[in-house]
Amino acid sequence: MTAVRCVDLCKTYRQGDEDIKALDHVSIDIEEAGFVCLSAPSGGGKTTLLNAIGGLDMPDSGEVWVADRRIDQMSKGELAELRLSSIGFVFQAYNLIPVLTARENIEFVMQVQGVPAKQRAEQSLAILEEVGLSGLEDRRPAEMSGGQQQRVAVARAIVSRPALVLADEPTANLDSKTSDELMTLFTELNRHHNTTFVIATHDQRVMRYAKRLVRMLDGRIVDDIAQDAA
């Protein structure tokens, strides 16, 4: 079954007097339980594609399907509902809500989903342990390092076991050991829970974990290869 289908996506940004093609007739199918890395140099279109899949940004033309639902024609409310119920996000920066503690940030999505308090507490503490942040649950983002913040963001993205996780440079602020631990966690979730991962990255170490590597250049897919994951 296909988790994500993009058909002939085009997206052009205007920068000054210049039109920049962020997506240039991009089509891609990502199967359920897929583990895909999008790799491209800066401005290559990987973040734009990730945003289009997550319903954060609308393409100028083309179709985006997530879990067999066409999302490029959905209303803001429907997109919000879809993101809340089915998609976990990890952004490159500014990932956390600064006025909430680590645990509250992790519980945030579950709280919006309406998960009971007791269940939220159990799941958030368990995931904090899983990402190696036990004991830091009451710290606010400003009291944590960049790597710790990123791990909290990852914990929040996966805590409610979404079907699809979209991560934009998730290891950008992490050391190699923590990066490996994080990717191992992603891999386990992918294997045991059939969670689909789409990760935009420059990091060669991250790419090693992918089952499929999609290279982009100037808004186009130039290479799409299956590989043995690490």
Partner: protein, 410 residues
């Protein structure tokens, strides 16, 4: 409703993220609310006093007259029902107090001066409850019963007439045949009143003495009833209306003294306008605070939208933040108002401007009146207008596109 706890927590935390700005805004709201309530209490105190003094000079919250009496207040237009029948009609009904009296224009003359006055022929026992005079504070004595042959006049009138307790005066009016009805009285008491006009313009004699002097048998010109409060006289009015002959006029005090009635209405309007104007001044600060609060967290709003929060939740969060800010200001403002008005209940001496106050019919001591209804009005105005003021920044925040908001620089 499921989102309310999440939104409230976020709103509260964001409120205190920039605590200095919040404290400044809370202070402004508190002072604004305090001034709304405090100034209203002072104005109410002044106007209430004018009205109460005016009502007590009438006196009676609900009055019954011959339909022609208010236009031509002479004994010709008296109530054609005798005292005995009135007693039968009203004694069985549960009134706080009622009395029938003779009230006609008259001329009082001493050996030196004469003055136009209102003659009040009263039963002092029945009228004690009306409280317009403290019988015990009268120099000399007050009337003892309806057959008392003495006269009690105001101290200021006595000064004008150059007379005093123990001296004789002549009271002159007209009988039902428009013939002169006059009689000599010995002054048995001098009274003081808060309002100089009352002291100068009214003289009291026994009711039956007045009836004899004016040749009107046991009839009177006015029946008066006391309600619990001059603002809440409708129950008394309805009871009187139900128990009175339809050929007589039943009037509320505000209809007898239209000036006082309209003063009360104007005051209610003034309070509302005053509160709205103060809030309008506050609203600029409030909107500015909210706009700044939204502007400095555009990326976080984008993040919340990206994580699945609906735009309506963002709208709700900013409105809740505004309401919390206002609530904190309201609590402090209300407490401040109570704390400052409470010690002033004994009155504020404004004798420096007493002459001006007397011209308005007010006394030289101002008693602030704190009404719960005024406090509620101030709070409702602040919350309602605050809600309206917060809609624009909240709407703006909810319209952000997640990806644009997240990538916003600075």
């Amino acid at each position: 409703m499921r989102m309310l706890p999440v939104l409230t927590r976020l709103a509260w935390r964001y409120l205190w993220r920039n605590h200095r700005r919040t404290i400044i805004m809370v202070s402004a709201i508190s002072v604004g609310v305090w001034s709304m309530i405090f100034m209203t209490a002072l104005s109410r105190g002044m106007v209430d006093q004018v009205i109460e003094d005016g009502v007590s000079a009438l006196p009676g919250h609900v009055q019954v007259h011959n339909p022609k009496f208010l236009d031509d207040p002479s004994v010709v237009n008296r109530i054609p029902i005798g005292d005995a029948e009135l007693s039968r009609a009203f004694s069985s009904t549960d009134f706080k107090a009622w009395a029938s009296r003779v009230r006609v224009p008259a001329v009082i003359a001493s050996e030196y001066e004469s003055r136009g006055v209102t003659l009040l022929g009263i039963d002092p026992v029945a009228e004690r409850e009306f409280g317009y005079l403290s019988y015990d504070d009268v120099e000399g004595r007050f009337l003892e019963d309806a057959d008392d042959n003495g006269i009690v006049i105001g101290r200021k009138l006595a000064d004008k007439l150059e007379t005093r307790v123990g001296k004789r005066v002549v009271l002159m009016s007209q009988d039902p045949d428009n013939e002169i009805a006059d009689r000599g009285f010995r002054i048995v008491g001098l009274f003081d009143a808060e309002v100089p006009a009352f002291e100068e313009g009214n003289v009291f004699i026994g009711k039956r003495t007045a009836q004899k002097m004016l040749h009107i048998g046991d009839t009177t010109t006015e029946i008066v009833f006391l309600g619990d409060n001059y603002r809440d006289i409708e129950p008394t009015y309805d009871k009187v209306l139900a128990s009175i002959d339809g050929s007589l006029d039943v009037s509320r005090w505000s209809e007898v003294a239209t000036y006082l009635g309209s003063m009360l209405t104007v005051m209610d309007g003034f309070v509302l306008i005053f509160m709205v104007v103060i809030f309008l001044a506050l609203s600029f600060g409030l909107v500015n605070t909210l706009v700044m609060a939204v502007f400095e967290r555009v990326r976080e709003i984008g993040l919340m939208l990206a994580l699945g929060m609906k735009p309506s939740n963002i709208l709700g969060q900013i409105i809740i933040e505004s309401m919390l800010l206002l609530l904190v200001g309201l609590v402090i403002g209300n407490l401040l108002a109570v704390a400052t008005i409470h010690p002033l209940r004994g009155g504020i001496d404004i004798s420096v401007v007493a002459e001006g106050m007397e011209m308005m019919g007010a006394a030289s001591v101002l008693y602030p009146r704190l009404y719960v209804s005024d406090m509620i009005l101030a709070n409702v105005i602040v919350l309602f207008l605050g809600f309206l003021a917060s809609l624009s920044p909240a709407w703006r925040a909810s319209r952000y596109e997640p990806v644009e908001a997240i990538t916003k620089v600075g």
